[in-house]
């Protein structure tokens, strides 16, 4: 972490001896701010990030409020899990596939509704208003927040409060909005900021869905990074810092909006009105939420279908024929990338899980160490990853470490460890200490109690943390690209590289592979404890 900070700060203030920068100056900032269109890029980043997060938060709350007590809740939760495991890149590809002029939507609407027999001419994705990018980010963040919200509903225990509100004449939707949503919002605060930081600085989705003539700041930074003129490193370093500041500004704006919104909801609750304008808004949001989930799932399946389509003319609703050629051609083309992805995912998951368990056990009973570690875990989640990665890449390049598999693993661990920690730390800290004490008094030493009682008792959250780490690793684009120096190819980097190629079959195959790997990791880690502990009712329900 310190290395990353030094790696950004030094060149930002003009200090980079290898490139002749030996004096401290503000010149990099001058060069950054005088770059053409830079203010537009900054504004675009902020606008896209805030809009996408706002959309995702509204969708999350309204979908939950409208469907929590309904029987449609389970299928919605399933769709949301499917999208959650799909890497950002796969989601971006599926949105592009759905809405592009020759995409699935136009095929299904043409020619009967539109009269078109050839694809219309409009620019989407990569529209100048950033709508495609906002949609892509919101679609990915919505299931993330929804999943966390569902997990938080357990501790909130909304049923009694909902019954109380219903007995006072509030309909289910309004009752949920006024009584449960505010509690949920408080608990979802941190994840929302993580989502916001991500949305402001996303790179992989922006490359597929964002406008290329007017890119957002993070993409501009990546262009400087790829600039053969190494002098571009100076404004890049300044820009990496500006992006951090921009994220902080985004947080501040969000925080203010949050205050206003909370006041509004509390006013609504205290006013005693049994209906209000919020209801309609929530209903619309919920409808939009269902539409989003359904469309995205459709897009993902459609994209997968492409891999097996022999030909699929516009405006046919379905492919004209299917073939399994893909296993001969495209699949062997992507097999090496798939292998690298799987290897990195497995290694990241193993190392992250072991590291997290060791750190948690070592910091157990050491309050200060525990607090420090906990705070440190959140840094990679709220700092824009291009800023973090740029800081490290200078260091790696100086030691000639870039391009090695282990360096890429290192970069992945920076992101997989925090997510693994988020899953495992809570259950670990809340573990029934009486079991550990009993084990020790029965003669097991400290390690005996740890391995024979604590680890098996935490099997479900530990495996879930393992699955999440694998999932995160498989979806990482920028860290793989920068640490790998372009020499390590994974499914994520390969899909971005080919996203503009127009080879739908290859992209379909890539998206499929990208879905299958995380699905195996996540479903496997969810099913394994259920199977291992199938006769142990005391643990079966305790999945995190």
């Amino acid at each position: 972490m310190a290395i990353a900070a030094a790696g950004v700060l030094a060149p930002a203030f003009g200090f980079l001896p290898t490139l002749g920068g030996t004096e401290l100056s503000l010149d990099p900032f001058v060069r950054f701010f005088t770059a053409p269109g830079i203010f537009r890029a900054m504004g675009q980043s902020l606008y896209v990030g805030l809009s996408a997060t706002f959309l995702a938060v509204i969708l999350t709350h309204s979908t939950l409020a409208a469907f929590y007590t309904s029987r449609w809740f389970a299928p919605l939760a399933w769709q949301s899990r499917l999208i959650l495991v799909a890497p950002h890149v796969a989601i971006a590809l599926s949105i592009a596939f759905l809405f592009t002029p020759s995409g699935l939507m136009m095929r299904w609407l043409s020619p009967w509704a539109t009269g078109w027999t050839s694809p219309p001419d409009y620019l989407f994705p990569q529209d100048p208003w950033g709508l495609a990018l906002i949609a892509g980010l919101a679609v990915k963040e919505f299931p993330f927040l929804l999943g966390l919200a569902i997990a938080q509903l357990g501790p909130i225990n909304p049923r009694p409060a909902l019954h109380a509100a219903a007995s006072m004449g509030y309909g289910p939707l309004r009752a949920f909005t006024l009584v449960v949503t505010p509690q949920l919002a408080t608990r979802l605060r941190f994840p929302v900021y993580v989502a916001l930081a991500y949305a402001i600085s996303s790179v992989d989705q922006a490359l597929v869905l964002g406008s290329s003539p007017a890119p957002i700041l993070s993409v501009r930074l990546l262009q400087w990074f790829n600039d053969s003129d190494l002098g571009a490193r100076f404004p890049l370093a300044a820009g990496a810092l500006v992006l951090v500041a921009l994220t902080a500004l985004g947080f501040a704006i969000w925080w203010l909006g949050e205050k206003g919104f909370a006041a509004f909801i509390h006013y609504g609750a205290a006013s005693g009105r049994r209906t209000g304008p919020v209801d309609g808004a929530m209903r619309t949001g919920a409808g939009l939420g269902v539409l989003t989930l359904t469309l995205t799932t459709t897009g993902l399946f459609g994209l997968g279908l492409n891999a097996f389509a022999s030909h699929w003319r516009f405006p046919d609703d379905w492919p004209g024929g299917f073939s399994l050629d893909i296993f001969g051609g495209a699949l062997s083309a992507i097999a090496p990338a798939a292998g690298t992805s799987a290897g990195l995912a497995l290694a990241s998951a193993v190392v992250s899980t072991l590291w997290v368990l060791a750190a948690l056990e070592a910091s157990h009973n050491h309050r200060r160490l525990a607090v420090t570690l906990h705070a440190l875990m959140f840094v990679p989640l709220v700092i824009p990853d291009i800023s973090l990665m740029f800081g490290l890449s200078g260091f790696w390049a100086a030691l000639r470490l870039d391009g090695h598999w282990l360096t890429v693993l290192w970069a992945h661990l920076l992101f997989t460890i925090p997510y693994c920690w988020l899953i495992v730390a809570g259950p670990f800290r809340n573990f029934n200490e009486g079991l550990v004490i009993s084990a020790r008094l029965l003669g097991a030493g400290r390690w005996g109690a740890f391995f024979r009682v604590k680890i098996p008792g935490l099997a479900a959250p530990i495996l879930a943390g393992f699955g999440i780490a694998a999932l995160v690793s498989a979806s990482l684009y920028l860290p793989t690209l920068l640490a790998g120096g372009g020499r390590i190819t994974t499914l994520a980097t390969e899909s971005i590289a080919l996203s503009q190629s127009g080879d739908r079959r290859l992209l379909g195959a890539l998206a499929l592979a990208m879905m299958v790997l995380p699905l195996i990791a996540v479903e496997g880690s969810a099913l394994a404890p259920k199977w291992l502990l199938r006769n142990r009712s005391g643990l079966n329900g305790a999945t995190a």
Partner: protein, 236 residues
């Protein structure tokens, strides 16, 4: 565990009873605040000493100290002797003290048999091991429960399994931390009698922490009431 003063015990080394659990001058501080005035107690073989007091007074802290698992934030002074040996500094696994907790603390990932086997000495092997466990279950009134999942047991059954798990580890003393408080009233007296009889039968000294005066009365031994030293009550 810090802040032990070896001279704080007023009785000389040769006056320490050779049998039973003896605690002298136990005093605990959290952030410099004393929890309760120093206590001293002795439980002879088969005798149950009851500790009572308002919640938050530090009963659990005292038990944690006797078990050797005091939280780092607590400073303790005083000494504990078991059958004449000073065990104050020993790690929990070498104390040979059994513990019965409110929720029975059965290991949820192990079967009843594996729970009982957890503490059973390695001296018992193969058939002898299986028989020791079967005998224990017989005495617990739970014959044939070997393969059962602890999650499916009733509160009374869990309490009895926990008792015999502790006894199979061949302890030299037993600590009971409100072990009956989660049981239904009618079951409670029955299980209590069962546990106390088993302790008396085994001739082990025992310390019982409880809220319920009926527990202390049924235990039949000395009752010590802890009174907090000023300050607000704290949980635990």
């Amino acid at each position: 565990m810090t802040g032990h003063d070896p001279d704080i015990c007023e009785i000389g080394a040769n006056e320490i009873p050779r049998t039973g659990l003896h605690a002298c001058s136990l005093e605990f501080r959290i952030d410099g605040r004393i929890l309760f005035p120093a206590v001293e107690f002795h439980a002879g073989p088969g005798e149950i000493v009851s500790l009572m007091g308002p919640s938050g007074v530090g009963k659990s802290t005292l038990l944690a100290f006797l078990s050797g698992v005091l939280s780092p934030g607590v400073t303790a002074s005083g000494r504990v002797f078991l059958d004449g040996e000073d065990i104050t500094q020993r790690p929990p696994e070498n104390r040979r003290i059994g513990l019965l907790l409110q929720d029975a603390a059965l290991f949820p990932h192990l079967s009843v048999e594996q729970n009982l086997g957890f503490g059973l000495s390695r001296r018992f092997r193969g058939e002898a091991r299986r028989k020791a466990i079967a005998d224990a279950l017989e005495k617990a009134g739970l014959p044939g429960f070997e393969k059962r999942d602890p999650g499916t047991l009733s509160g009374g059954e869990r309490a009895r399994v926990a008792l015999f798990r502790a006894l199979l580890a061949e302890p030299r003393a037993i600590l009971l931390d409100e072990p009956f408080s989660r049981l239904d009233t009618d079951l409670r007296a029955q299980i209590r009698r069962f546990v106390f009889d088993a302790i008396a039968g085994s001739g082990l000294p025992a310390i019982l922490v409880t809220h319920d005066a009926a527990d202390a009365e049924a235990a039949g031994g000395p009752v010590i009431t802890l009174q907090g030293v000023n300050g607000p009550e704290r949980p635990g």
